[in-house]
Amino acid sequence: MTFFQLIRKNLFRKKLRTILTTFAIFVAFAIFGILATFQNALNSGADTASADRLIVTNKINFTLPMPIAYASRVATVPGVKLVSHANWFGGYYQEPKNFLVALAIDPQSYLDLYPEYVLPPAQRAAFLGDRGSIIVGEGLAKQFNWKLGDRIPIKSNIFRKVDGSDTWDFTVAGIMTPGSTGVDVNFVAFHYEYFKQTRSFGGDTIGWLILRTESPKENERISRTIDAMFANSPFETETKTEQAFNKAFTEQLGDVGFIILLVVGAAFGTILLIVGNTMMLTVRERTNEIAVLKTIGFTADSIFRLVIGESLLLASIGGLLGLGAAYAASIGLAAVSGGRFGVMAFSPVTALIGVGIIVALGLLTGLLPALRAMNLNVVTALGRK
């Protein structure tokens, strides 16, 4: 019988107890994996942000507009390579509950600035060539069954057309796919020029500017230059890196991160107790047996490894199953949510942290019983009864 077989036999001696304990561990790691997936989704904006992109918004609040003339003035700042702009549309499809992130953009520069929104060359050309067209994320296309060439009505809860209607009709010219994992393409975008000419108010204003700098090292200086340029004007600006902007946006949701930490911490505290307790029970029950093992020549060292090995195996089985279940759930959640909360993805980092915690859990819960088993005095143990 190999050492590992001995550990395995020990672990499954009391099947019911082991199954129950494994289940408890499974639950904790499934909770951990799913909550981490939520957290990733909320942070996906900040994580995939490019270091050389800056966002310029109205200083009072990012929901307020600024003149479109700012785009050309910002372009003259040394170190700025490319400038584009976007405007929030407050869009929805058919009913208000089908909320859409819809943006009126300057098509050419916007797509150049965001190479991670991938469009086949033919679709890109079609979009750039037709003012009344729209590009949509692949998830949304699937959700609402939009095909290339479809005419789709997009409603706005902010803007009105000159004729008083709140519905703009667009031709689907392209379907965007994410260029790498974590990139969020769950939005639609159309030509700002067309939007400006058909809306009844708003004039020559835009929502925000996006620009690419020559190098992230220049970001500080460029931000300061831009904000100084518009200081004391009716539309003061605030320039931030894209990452800082996205992070500030999720922070508005409040103490989500703290709550997640709290729950995961509570779940693990419980599991630690249950598993630790089971291991203690197991070793106590086997006092005689361990004494016999020692008598027939097992060293204290190998006894220690025997017990630690058992707790590690226990933690691994439950933990890996739990992480696996969280992975499966994340795929399901991504499909169900349609990207409304960002990109639901079970990241390799989450998996790695999970495995780290599994090892820590196994070591921690096994340590005390293993020490006790190792230091067991054979004579007292066998004499005890």
Binding site: L20, I60, N61, E251, I274
Partner: protein, 396 residues
């Protein structure tokens, strides 16, 4: 019958008195059940607090006029001419000056800095006239005074000054490219209005270059039933065609999204954690039965029935989880009751709310712990009831 009862009594008391010999296992069950209960209760209290803040906002006899299809106050726009038309509507109560009691208001978003995290968050800056307080009920200046029209003065809701930096009385704060003096703090019965900053509407219209347009109009109705008349009035006039809602209904709709989210996250989590705690409870109870195999078998041999063994084990399990439930509830209550938090409400601005425990929540928590206790006790108890007599002689 009487004998069975006496037996149950004896076995149960033996069970309970033997708990100290399984102290650590028993404590771990208590703690596991406690944590599961505590997590559930803190989520429920959060959801409950948010809902009661948002739902407690507004009165049924205040009608709110918004642009059609706009949804929130932020997206709405109403012209000066439309406000004048609304003044003519029947069913609106008259103020002391004999004019219709209505308040035309501007609603904009400014940045505040959260005290807890030091991060920026959207705060609503509402431009109001003198009638804002008359139309609403229960707005009370709790410190300082009301702002003076035509000056750069602000009053802030109690929740704002508690949660955000720089809103202390007498301080000057820069918002919307303008330095403002904080001259007062107001209470609004714990409603959403306490998360708002109020200033003079004319000042804001000037700052935002809005001319004479406003965003919403609130009107006090003679009684809540006049809403239909106002709606008909607005629909009949092509110059109006506005959405008209009772203020209570307006805020009730807004509360749904977020509190549902908290609720839908809280229950599944609590259920998952309960299963974890259940596994712990089962382990403990099986260990309890196993440790007393000989004892139980001996009792069976001298004439005790299976039922007392079952009840004894069951009682032990229920007692342990009930203690866990009570401890968890107490902890959650001490840690979280009354704690303030803020999150993004559906108007795209922060809503400050407090965690709120109610007796119903506590009942739900204890109920959950008893379910865990029952499920964790029933199988071990069944085993205890069917211990073979031979086990009495088995070497342990």
């Amino acid at each position: 019958m009487a004998r069975t009862l006496a037996q149950i009594n004896a076995v149960t008391s033996m069970n309970l008195r033997s708990i100290p010999s399984r102290l650590w296992t028993s404590i771990s069950t208590v703690v596991a059940v406690g944590i599961a209960t505590g997590v559930l209760l803190s989520f429920l209290a959060m959801s409950n607090g948010f809902r009661s803040t948002v739902k407690g906002t507004g009165s049924p006899d205040v009608a709110i006029f918004l642009r059609k299809g706009g949804g929130g106050e932020l997206n709405s726009i109403i012209t000066r001419e439309q406000v004048q038309l609304i003044e003519e509507a029947k069913g609106i109560a008259k103020g002391p000056d004999g004019k219709a009691l209505l308040s035309a208001e501007m609603y904009s978003v400014v940045d505040g800095i959260k005290k807890s995290s030091g991060t920026k968050a959207n705060l609503p800056l509402r431009g109001v006239g003198p009638n804002a307080v008359n139309v609403r009920r229960g707005i009370k200046i709790s410190a300082g005074r009301m702002f003076q029209s035509g000056t750069a003065e602000l009053v802030v809701g109690r929740a704002v000054s508690k949660q955000f930096k720089g809103f202390e009385l007498g301080r000057t704060i820069r918002l919307a490219s303008q330095n403002w003096k904080v001259v007062g703090e107001f209470e609004a019965g714990g409603s959403v209005f306490e998360s708002e900053i109020w200033s003079d509407i004319a000042m804001l219209q000037g700052l935002y270059r809005r001319g004479s347009s406003v965003q919403t109009v609130r009107a006090r109705m003679e009684d809540p039933n006049r809403l239909k008349e106002l709606l008909a009035f607005s629909d009949a006039d092509p110059r109006l065609k506005l959405d008209v809602k009772a203020e209570t209904e307006f805020y009730a709709n807004q509360s749904r999204g977020i509190s549902d989210l908290i609720l839908y996250l809280g229950w599944p989590l609590a259920i998952a954690m309960s299963f974890g705690a259940l596994a712990g409870a089962l382990n403990t109870m099986y260990a309890s039965v196993d440790a007393r195999m000989r004892e139980i078998a001996t009792m069976r041999a001298i004439g005790f029935g299976g039922l007392p063994a079952f009840v004894g084990t069951m009682t032990e399990s229920l007692l342990l989880s009930a203690i866990g439930g009570v401890v968890g509830t107490l902890f959650a209550y001490l840690l979280f009751d009354g704690i303030s938090a803020s999150t993004l409400g559906s108007n795209f601005t922060q809503v400050v709310f407090s965690f709120k425990f109610t007796p119903e929540l506590v009942v739900q928590g204890v109920f959950l712990s008893l379910i865990i206790g029952f499920a964790g006790g029933v199988f071990p108890a069944w085993r205890a009831a069917r211990v073979p007599l031979l086990a009495a002689f088995r070497e342990q």
